[in-house]
Symmetry: C2
């Protein structure tokens, strides 16, 4: 017989998957001997059975009844008994925190008789009837599906009749009548009486909590938070205690440390003579927790004692809810508290300092996303620009710009050098050019998976979405926010990390953490602020324990130097196509348009010294460290003008009877000739090298000459040559042959013995699937996970991210964009295959990754466990990758569905 | 010690990999007791060692010397001995036939002394000196690298001096002097004397044959014929026999059966008093082999006897070379003879009839490509159009059209309804539009892997390339062929199956085999020609033994009906996009341009009845058989006008000061909005279904209503619904939900219980890699190997086939285009993974393939062994797929590198 119910005395915090976070932590507190009102938990498994089959598990009723009996025995009173009835709460509790998303029903056990028992005692009458009234409303709404507006209407009508302004103006008689009215409403709406039988109340409440797992808002929340849909919720049944029984009662929340800094102390709020719900709802003003010491020194001392125990036990900041019922302290909930990015570092650092955590444990407590937040520039909080709106912080960072209301205006103003913020009700793919042109995007609708949010995050643009304080009026070219009207052109400040929008240009300040990294991560002195010292401590530890090396994707000497300051251990991807742009475009055009080998060679010869100097500069900046140079990758027509523009220009000239510019005509012919329907799937990568004569030789010669030059200058250049887009070992074999020929030639000419490892990108499924063969000719592998994701899924980031990713996230097809975090089941499986078979063919093969996933925390963990040697990412992501590589080495890994 | 040399008595025909085809078959004849001049074979392994390391294996010299001694003992005379010298031939012999591609050196053992011994005997003087002269020329050319034109010049000079017109006019004295001249040439060209030592001659000849494996022409030939580059050649060393020693000598070739029909009999040619080389060179006219009966009845009888033995032994048509030396018959070579497509069927049929082969063995002897040849229409050979050129038959079929010399003219004339043949020196990607417009492509340069050949085969266009009889003069818009001048507009006939080009419109006749299939493959009567009966017999057998079903890719009732006549067992792919074209384009445009749900719904409602009738027609044609209907797949902008054309039109109007047509402006805006950089990787397939509201519902409703309609009419409609481009089970799950909803709705409305299996294409790597999960929601899989090849390799057929496939074939990166024959290592591995994991998750899952590979013989074998249930291909490929499916069930499979 499967066990679906656990008494609090039988669980522990490790059982959160089965008992939910709430149930597991309550059980843990019971184990610790803390005063918790007795209760038991129905498992998530019971919920899953119910949600899958539509009926509760066969034995559930019986198991619940058994546990209820135990509870009644312990309490010495029964559910629903007429004198001094036992009341219970029925609460949801999922394995991951989903605050407010699911249902809770309090005061189960009240009925027409037990309400009288509850009312016994001085001043309890009103309390009892009000509790019953609330139960009827809550139960009818949640369990029986009655529209709760009906109850609100009845209440309002009664208040009107009594000219009462607040609920508390109603007396017991009113409440008794109101309960009657409520019960009538239930009967009318459902054809069913409000159930008087407490056991029935309990049973139906449990199923209603199960059902609340699948409400629209709960589903949406899970999608946003990447919580799987199939976990289900546990249900906690617990004896009710009351903080609203007089001056010797009350409820509060407490933190074992300052959630902002991690400093020990007494932090929290206390509300005398109130239930926990009232504290959260903020109906009355709570007092600082320290006041409790004055109000009830005994309970305060006990609470402090419990808090110390919890801290010691959880070894982390704990967030606590408690109630004092007539001088008796009850612990109602605890959990490891949420915190800001900076607090995460402070707390971890503080706990290490106190000896509570080892440095490795501290490292596991923080994460790369928190570090990324600390690196963004932020608005100076000392400035006092007016806050005009607050939305969902969808893509972090701080941006200042003039308000514009459409894409065309954004593009126009940005073209004139103005910084703009695109403000829309919501964005569509039509807004893309404007989003590209803008500093930030602000929308009044949509959540974290809206089009604006997804696209902005993909572009690294600041975005605040769903700011429902504002009303966008593009027709009149203005928006209103609270009581401010903001016309087009007004400068605003958008904080993508907090969701706050300010009027005017709020002053930006560089992050001190960014300055620390850009200074080369030197050990901070005492004068340096604590947050920097905290980060330094974590980085030191991460570097000490990580196995993965971290390299940078960098194409210029300046980027290379910065990456080195940020801690890069080499360059994992030096793209050469950027070196083909700018003032070299003319030479590149000449190379592409060449009609004869001589013309082409002349253009290549002119490019050669320029490329050589590029490489020499980068090799100098990374002296002594590997620099992996990728041969030219993109299709050549990317270096030519836009086809549509040319066609339109030539057509206009034609319509006006003018002969087109000869250059235009020639370019158009070339562009038409080279046009590809799907350039991503066209003549690029190694294919170019194999069909454009002289291209590989020129690039390799530039690398070899740069190496010779740096060696002659006493340097230690370590160039590696990387061949992109290889599908088959034969391609690599041919290119390698050419590479070795040129290296030998330049060695001969310069007298410098030049040796560069030659390796390949693994960025096509076929390369991964035949990695064993490819390894025979490759001295290293580097996963190009952008292209690999593109081809494995068969969609291109550019084309589909804007078109349907937000829909896919909303529908739950993605938990997260596979371009952001590596898709373990598909792309990850190919990575695992290639690593295993590549190393089998060539033991000790160096393997890295140079796609954008190299700087994504979850992906870094995957790459660590896949056995890669390094990750390579953009310079600004290097600290994050270092930190996560360290964490990956410490944190146990659940391989999930990774397989081969 | 590795053994590198095998005596003929030690080998067998199974050893062709080691001994080459020639060596293995000679050994086999020795085993059979046939008279073969003694000899031995140096293995391909020795060749491989030599080619890899640059030096022959250490023991090779010794092993050759040992075997030579054995040979001398057997012959009773020594190599190079002065009286009656032993002479030997040194011949190449690769595991696969490479006729004329590698080198042969005859008469090894002759030198200044042994030539005198060979000259002894009546009338042998001239023969001996001529042999010596030939040895010097052959050896110097092949072994010593002397330009053989020097020898030809000397010979011509001597002939001029003697006013001799042919070689035979020269007398012994002339030849003796010529040998001296030749030896001088060798000395002058190489600084080295012609080697007199026979052992040195032999050793160097062997290495020269090894080297000839890697000549340019041999490499090219291997690439064309898909022979791996790393096999190496064996070398056969054999005692020379001479057919040119008088009237009682001669040489001939013989076939054990008529190579055209397979009828038993005596077929071949005999040339009295000649060496084998003379027969092949056609210097003198040979006589029919029957004549030998009169000339030398004894040898003829022995030959007949040997031929019978070979037939019985090889159980196939054998092709034989023999020499009679002074009345003694020697067998010099045998192999299974090549044959025409028709002969292949005839011979297999005849051998079955004679009881030599079982029906299954006969089936293994023929193949689908041969059948494809028999199905093409061909020119009526009775017509006598002038043959003006002969090139390489690069893409089969027969086409008639007016000559054009450039792409623009081809497009222009084709646009006016004229049939054209594009004639170019060679084609480039610029010629693509012309190739599309033309009936056939004819080039004067390039081989089977030239751009023209590769692209034409890809398009299924007739192509003859490398027709070096013709000179193309596009400037004067004419070509000359032999002595005919052909101006633009002249009608010519191009036979892509034979390479022949005729002047004028040669009459085309339908293939009788095609008529047979189109008649439903009825058992032929006695009146029907034998070839049809042969094919019928093979098809019967193939159908009886095959496990794979064969379905058709068909989108119209007419195609469905034809496919059924051709033997299709259902439709594996019914594309619905073709139903969105033609006069429905306006509705489709309206659907795409709809600004409101109402507008879109109106357009969809208008499309609904049209789609329903499409489906009803197809279901009727395939009544009782499965019809797999794929939901809309291509990106929507494919249904809108071309972006460039619109932009140009609007720009022209603008330049002329006209407002653009409102429709143009609207369309341009829509096309720009929907423009994708890489439409193959964009919003298409299931993604469309998930983001365009109502599209899936409309298509499913059309299917369901068609099923209901056919059911009501007493039919047996078996529609299956196929979801394209699925990446993740979640996509399929959502669509399935929608499908089931609509099916239930229509069932309810019509009272017909409609059940359609819902399955998915597996056409993206991720789908294959997560097939186990996808199978949970898919009732069938169908591999879309076109897209799967595209994404696995990361190149699109349209974009790259023309751009670099011919270069890739030439460089040996491909043996064959992966779009033509499935790439086992990459794409095939994904297929294997998906089959194994799909069936593990859902035992009995139906799995097919509907990419073009479904009609490719090699791929059909792969799919059979991968365990698929069916292949689906275009109607005309159905007989080929049926035949190959049968053969696949019989022929043992070498899985190669297929793996999981």
């Amino acid at each position: 017989m499967t066990r679906y119910v656990y008494d609090f005395t039988e669980g522990s915090r490790e059982m959160a998957d089965l008992l939910g976070g709430k149930g597991a932590n309550l059980a843990e507190m019971v184990r610790m001997g803390l005063p918790v009102p007795p209760g038991f938990t129905v498992t998530t498994e019971a919920c899953r059975v119910y949600l899958t089959t539509g009926v509760p598990p066969q034995d559930l009723g019986e198991q619940v009844a058994d546990h209820l009996k135990t509870l009644e025995r312990a309490a010495g009173r029964n559910l629903g008994q007429v004198d001094d009835p036992l009341l219970i709460s029925v609460r949801s509790g999922a394995p991951f925190s989903m605050p407010g998303m699911m249902e809770t029903i309090l005061d189960i056990g009240l009925n027409d008789y037990s309400v009288l028992g509850l009312a016994k005692g001085p001043g309890r009458e009103r309390f009892a009837w009000d509790s019953y009234r609330r139960l009827v409303q809550m139960f009818a709404g949640i369990v029986m599906g009655v529209d709760t507006a009906l109850f609100e209407d009845a209440l309002t009508a009664l208040k009107k009749q009594h000219r009462a302004s607040v609920d508390t103006d109603l007396d017991t008689c009113d409440l008794i009548r109101l309960v009657e009215t409520y019960k009538d409403i239930v009967l009318e709406a459902t054809g069913e009486e409000f159930p008087q039988e407490p056991a029935e109340q309990l049973e139906r409440a449990i199923l209603a909590v199960f059902d609340s797992w699948n409400t629209e808002r709960a589903r949406l929340y899970r999608r946003r938070e990447h919580i799987p849909d199939d976990l289900g919720t546990a249900v906690t049944i617990q004896i009710m205690v009351f903080g609203n029984l007089g001056a010797d009662s009350g409820s509060g929340v407490a933190f074992t440390r300052d959630p902002a800094t991690g400093a020990r102390g007494v932090y929290g709020d206390y509300l005398p003579n109130a239930q926990g719900e009232d504290v959260v709802a903020g109906i009355r003003n709570a007092v600082p927790l320290q006041e409790l010491q004055r109000l009830d020194p005994h309970s305060f001392a006990r609470l402090r004692d419990h808090m110390d125990k919890l801290e010691e036990h959880y070894r982390d900041l704990c967030d606590i809810e408690f109630t004092i019922e007539r001088g008796h302290l009850w612990m109602l909930q605890t959990r490891v508290g949420k915190r800001t990015a900076q607090a995460a570092f402070s707390i971890a650092s503080q706990l290490t300092f106190e000896g509570i955590l080892s440095p490795d444990q501290a490292l596991a407590r923080i994460d790369g996303e928190a570090l990324a937040h600390l690196m963004f520039p932020r608005f100076d909080t000392r400035a006092d620009n007016e806050e005009i709106a607050h939305g969902i912080p969808a893509s972090p960072g701080a941006a200042v710009g003039a308000v514009v209301f459409d894409s065309a205006e954004a593009v126009r103003r940005a073209g004139e050098g103005e910084k703009v913020v695109l403000v829309r009700q919501e964005t569509t793919p039509d807004d893309l050019p404007g989003m590209v042109a803008a500093q930030a995007v602000l929308t009044s609708r949509g959540g974290k998976t809206s089009h604006a949010a997804v696209v902005a995050r993909g572009m690294g643009k600041v975005c605040v979405c769903g700011a429902d304080d504002i009303t966008v009026n593009p027709r009149e070219r203005l928006f209103t926010a609270r009581d401010v009207t903001v016309p087009e052109g007004t400068v605003i400040s958008v904080d993508g990390s907090t969701g706050v929008v300010h009027l005017g240009a709020a002053p930006l300040i560089d992050s001190e953490i960014m300055r620390y990294f850009d200074g080369g991560g030197q050990p901070p002195t005492e004068q340096v602020p604590q947050p920097v010292r905290d980060v330094h401590q974590m980085m030191q530890r991460a570097d000490a324990v990580r196995r993965l090396e971290v390299r940078a994707n960098a194409d210029t000497p300046a980027d290379a130097a910065r990456a080195r300051r940020f801690g890069a251990q080499g360059i994992g991807l030096c793209r050469t196509e950027h070196m083909f742009l700018g003032d070299r475009r003319e030479l590149v055009e000449a190379m592409i348009l060449a009609r004869t080998d001589t013309d082409r060679d002349r253009a290549l010869q002119a490019l050669l010294p320029l490329q050589r100097e590029d490489f020499a500069g980068i090799l100098q900046a990374m002296d002594g460290l590997p620099v992996t140079i990728r041969l030219l990758d993109p299709p050549l027509h990317e270096f030519l003008p836009d086809r549509i523009e040319l066609a339109v220009r030539v057509a206009r000239d034609g319509a006006l009877g003018k002969a087109p510019e000869p250059r235009d005509a020639e370019l158009l012919a070339a562009v038409n000739r080279m046009h590809e329907e799907n350039p991503m799937l066209g003549l690029r990568g190694v294919r170019l090298g194999l069909v454009v004569p002289g291209l590989v030789a020129m690039q390799v010669r530039a690398i070899a000459e740069a190496v010779a030059q740096r060696t002659a200058a006493g340097g230690d250049p370590r160039a590696e040559i990387m061949v992109p887009l290889v599908d088959a070992v034969e391609e690599l074999h041919l290119v390698r042959h050419e590479v070795n020929r040129v290296l030998a030639e330049v060695s001969e000419e310069t007298g410098v013995h030049i040796q560069c490892p030659v390796g390949t990108m693994i960025e096509l499924p076929r390369a991964a699937l035949t990695a064993g063969k490819i390894a025979e000719d490759a001295e290293f592998f580097s996963f190009g996970t952008n292209d690999l994701t593109q081809t494995t899924w068969g969609f291109s980031r550019d084309d589909v991210e804007a078109a349907f990713f937000s829909a896919y996230l909303d529908k739950g097809i993605f938990q997260v964009s596979p371009f952001e975090t590596i898709d373990r089941d598909g792309v990850g499986r190919l990575v695992n295959i290639a690593v295993a078979e590549g190393r089998a063919a060539r033991p000790g093969l160096t393997i890295g990754v140079c796609g954008e996933h190299g700087g994504d925390p979850a992906s870094v963990h995957f790459f660590h466990h896949a056995g890669l040697d390094y990750v390579s990412c953009s310079p600004f992501r290097i600290p994050i990758a270092r930190l996560e590589a360290g964490r990956a080495a410490l944190i146990e890994y659940t391989p999930g569905s990774d397989s081969m």
